[in-house]
């Protein structure tokens, strides 16, 4: 049975704000679609439209054979009829019910014993044992988030909408839940639409990535592709592309292009469509550093420069290099110590051809 | 300014009037104003029980026309009035009353009307409160129908409320004051049969001039008007018998 979620709608708030969505994908079995974008771009609104909590002004939403929404035919199924699970960004736990009863809320027509079992399993899975009889205001923020997650999952909905499910969790639990969540969801075989603003989370969880900006879908596709090959400068900024520099293509040859950036030349795959003016994008982790050595001719892009600054970021170090233009590289701390990186020292940066991504610039 | 007010007070009689006496008193007041244009009469109508409670707290009235003799006597006993200032001003009568649309032939049936099968509820004034209620109860007993009607009685808190019950058709028959039955608003709406006077103790209504009366002259004038020939004429027309001299 192949179910497809197809959504194409416009939701307006007043005259200024409009959220446009247009995507579709097979949702017949487990897969995670991540909505990714800056704060206020319309992620929550899109989820709410899918859930039936918000009624778009135009368009159509279908899931498998059933039409959830159709502006023209005035169809608008209620959230109950859609059989979805929705995790609210601010949890929305019921303040008058205990943790146990919050989680059991959606279990209707289930025997007492069965309910105990199902909820108990969730409590264990989410590390909430011992909190059953507390009320939501008596547990911490992260505990609340896990309770909300458990409450949604225990009902086994046919489509899961998660609005930043892990944002209030500490790193170890978060990491664990991130993996667990995938297994859990695979277990339950439920397709998921997930909102996150965390790049690592998106990479770890997503099968399919949709980048939103100012209410519009800017790019969608497999995660790696979207992150490494943003279609335009805005998407590049949103997915946190570390190096974006204007450049000019001076030559193309057999699908390879030579780009001039600053006063240096780089080789890259030619962009489609071809354009002379381009942005050159390089992920910082794709830049490899070596002790400075005379420039050799080689298929690789080899750039000699000097280190401008070093920024420690947890286990990694961001190295800004001046090599005619400003280039940021990411290395691990020991690697940086190994190379004895210091500000002002000369260094060679290597970038492989496929790591240089060109975006046409108008 | 205050002096003018005091002057005005002197000329104004504030009268607390028992509700059942309202219709008669309105005409009385109009006639009095014609006779004594220098005096002003401002009546307040209400339940005698309320007035009693209020007067015992120095309510601003000069004259109290009660629905019975009990309240004025109490006021005298408590020192709010002198015994010589109480006076009997009217004696009430009761009637059986049915609205026009009723099919009961009161003329023919007389008191037997209460036993008619169409009479499901009979309204009387509350005997524990209203003199007219006591009279009604006494008359029913004396006429030997009380046991038969006992369970069909409903009680109005005063004679006006009792009238509302019958008039609305909620009760089929009522025992009202004659004064009410002949008064303007009720005259057109129903028929009545006068209950014989000897079946109940006389419903004596007495008035009293309060100790604190501010406009003594006017009050005295009103009192003598009330009990004088003109007043008696009006009383008679409104269905009161006159207190024996």
């Amino acid at each position: 049975m192949s179910k497809e979620l197809a959504a194409r709608f416009v939701k307006r708030f007043g005259k200024k704000v409009a959220i446009e969505a247009d995507f579709q994908w097979l949702a017949d079995r487990f897969s995670i679609t991540v909505l990714f974008g800056p704060s206020g771009c319309g992620k929550t609104t899109t989820l709410r439209c899918l859930a039936g909590l918000e009624r778009p002004e135009e368009g159509k939403i279908t899931f498998g054979k059933s039409t959830w929404f159709d502006a023209e035919e005035r169809i608008h199924l209620s959230p109950q009829q859609r059989g979805i699970g929705y995790l609210f960004q601010d949890y929305a736990l019921f303040p008058h019910l205990t943790v146990f009863r919050n989680i059991a809320y959606g279990l209707r027509g289930v025997s007492r014993a069965e309910r105990r079992k199902l909820v108990g399993a969730m409590l264990e899975r989410f590390n909430l044992l011992g909190l059953e009889d507390r009320f939501p205001h008596q547990v911490s923020g992260g505990e609340q988030q896990r309770i909300a997650l458990a409450r949604v999952l225990v009902c086994r909905p046919q489509l899961l909408l998660l609005d930043e499910p892990l944002s209030s969790l500490d790193s170890p639990i978060r990491k664990q839940l991130r993996t667990d969540l995938r297994y859990l969801l695979i277990d339950f075989d439920i397709p998921v639409v997930l909102v996150t603003h965390d790049r690592i989370e998106a990479m770890a969880l997503a099968d399919h990535l949709i980048v939103l900006d100012q209410g519009r879908i800017r790019q969608q596709g497999p995660v790696a592709e979207v992150f490494n090959r943003p279609v335009d400068i805005d998407v590049a900024r949103i997915v946190g592309m570390g190096n974006v520099q204007p450049g000019r293509i001076v030559e193309t040859n057999e699908g390879l292009a030579t780009v001039e950036v600053g006063n240096r030349q780089l080789t890259a795959f030619a962009p489609i469509p071809l354009a002379e003016q381009v942005y050159v994008c390089i992920q910082p982790e794709e830049v490899i550093l070596q002790k400075a050595s005379p420039e050799l001719s080689s298929p690789r892009n080899r750039l000699l420069g000097t280190i401008k600054s070093l920024t420690h970021e947890g286990p990694t170090v961001l190295v800004t290099i001046d090599c005619g233009f400003s280039l940021v590289a990411l290395v691990t701390r020991p690697a940086s110590e190994e190379l004895a990186l210091t500000v002002g020292m000369p260094i060679t940066a290597l970038v492989k051809t496929p790591a240089v991504h060109l975006i046409p610039r108008s | 300014d205050t002096r003018e007010k005091v002057e005005a007070r002197r000329k104004e009689v504030r009268v607390a009037v028992a509700a059942n006496f309202q219709f008669a008193f309105e005409e009385m007041a109009a006639a009095f104003r014609e006779e004594y244009p220098e005096f002003e009469v401002s009546p307040t109508y209400g339940s005698s029980g309320n007035f009693y409670a209020q007067l015992s707290q120095d309510a601003p009235f000069d004259l109290f026309l009660s629905a019975d003799t009990h309240y004025p006597r109490q006021l005298v006993e408590q020192g709010f009035a002198k015994n010589e200032d109480t006076f009997l001003y009217a004696v009430g009568q009761i009637v059986l009353w049915v609205p026009n649309r009723s099919e009961l032939d009161l003329e023919r049936l007389g008191i037997e009307a209460v036993n008619d099968s169409s009479v499901k509820k009979i309204a009387i004034a509350n005997p524990t409160l209203a003199p007219y209620g006591q009279a009604a109860e006494a008359a029913l007993k004396k006429l030997g129908v009380y046991e038969a009607v006992k369970d069909r009685l409903v009680f109005g808190d005063n004679i006006a409320q009792t009238a509302h019950f019958v008039e609305s058709g909620a009760a089929d028959l009522g025992i009202l004051a004659l004064s009410l039955a002949v008064a303007e608003p009720m005259k057109e709406r129903g028929r009545y049969w006068v209950v014989p006077l000897d079946t109940y103790p006389p419903i004596e209504q007495s008035g009293v001039i309060l100790q604190a009366a501010k406009s003594e002259k006017a009050t005295l004038a009103l009192r003598s008007f009330l009990t004088g020939p003109q007043g008696r004429g009006i009383l008679k027309r409104y269905g009161y018998t006159l207190p024996e001299e």
């Binding site: 909590l53 959230p79 | 029980g49 309240y71 009680f155 058709g169």
Partner: protein
């Protein structure tokens, strides 16, 4: 002490409260959730029974339900009973008269329930009705409770409408407050004092128990 009057009073107050709970909750919810721009009209109508003196309201009610009115005829042909001078009659009057004391606090309480919780319940598959019972009602409890307390206490103390529609029949429509009123009117101040004291003491006890119980429920 008039025990039958006490019994009638309690019966009336309890029934009024229950009926207004059953009628008032949906009415209030409907008022809160409806989107019609003219709904302030309905809200105003709900508050109207208040602005007429009880006796006057009672008078009109008597007129409206008497055997000569269509309503009265209808009721009589349906139930074989007249509304005036029956317990049913004073109950109807009492319910009408107390409508605003129940509906307004209910509506105010519903208004303050966080919409997100309602949405969360829908998304967990609970129907609108189920959500009302499982989320909206428990969370509006202070307001619902207020409406019930006001209704109950006010019915105990009411006598205008009840007297007018009920006709003060011992054991049927004579409530304690009518008895008390009669006592005061008849200058039976001692008896009145006793009745009043008992009424107050009894109500005080009842209110205390309810409040105490309510604290348990909420906290």
């Amino acid at each position: 002490m008039d025990w039958t009057a006490l019994a009638v009073t309690l019966k009336l107050a309890a029934w009024t409260t229950v009926i207004l709970l059953v009628l008032g909750l949906p009415l209030a919810y409907w008022l809160v959730t409806m989107r019609w721009r003219g709904k302030f009209l309905i809200e105003a109508v709900v508050a109207l029974p208040l602005v007429l003196p009880p006796t006057v309201l009672g008078y009109y009610l008597l007129m409206a339900t008497g055997p000569n009115s269509y309503l009265g005829e209808g009721v009589e042909s349906l139930t074989g009973e007249r509304l005036p001078f029956t317990f049913l009659g004073i109950l109807v009057g009492s319910v009408l008269f107390n409508l605003p004391f129940a509906v307004r606090p209910f509506a105010a309480a519903f208004l303050s329930v966080d919409r997100k919780l309602i949405e969360a319940s829908w998304c967990l598959g609970e129907s609108r009705l189920g959500t009302f019972f499982r989320i909206v009602m428990p969370l509006s409890w202070p307001g619902i409770f207020t409406g019930m307390i006001l209704t109950f206490a006010h019915t105990v103390g009411e006598f205008g409408v009840v007297l007018m529609v009920g006709g003060n029949i011992p054991g049927v429509t004579r409530t304690l407050s009518i008895a008390l009123y009669d006592d005061v009117q008849a200058m039976q101040y001692e008896a009145a004092g006793e009745t009043a004291l008992l009424l107050v003491a009894f109500s005080f006890a009842a209110l205390c128990i309810i409040h105490f119980f309510q604290r348990r429920v909420v906290l």
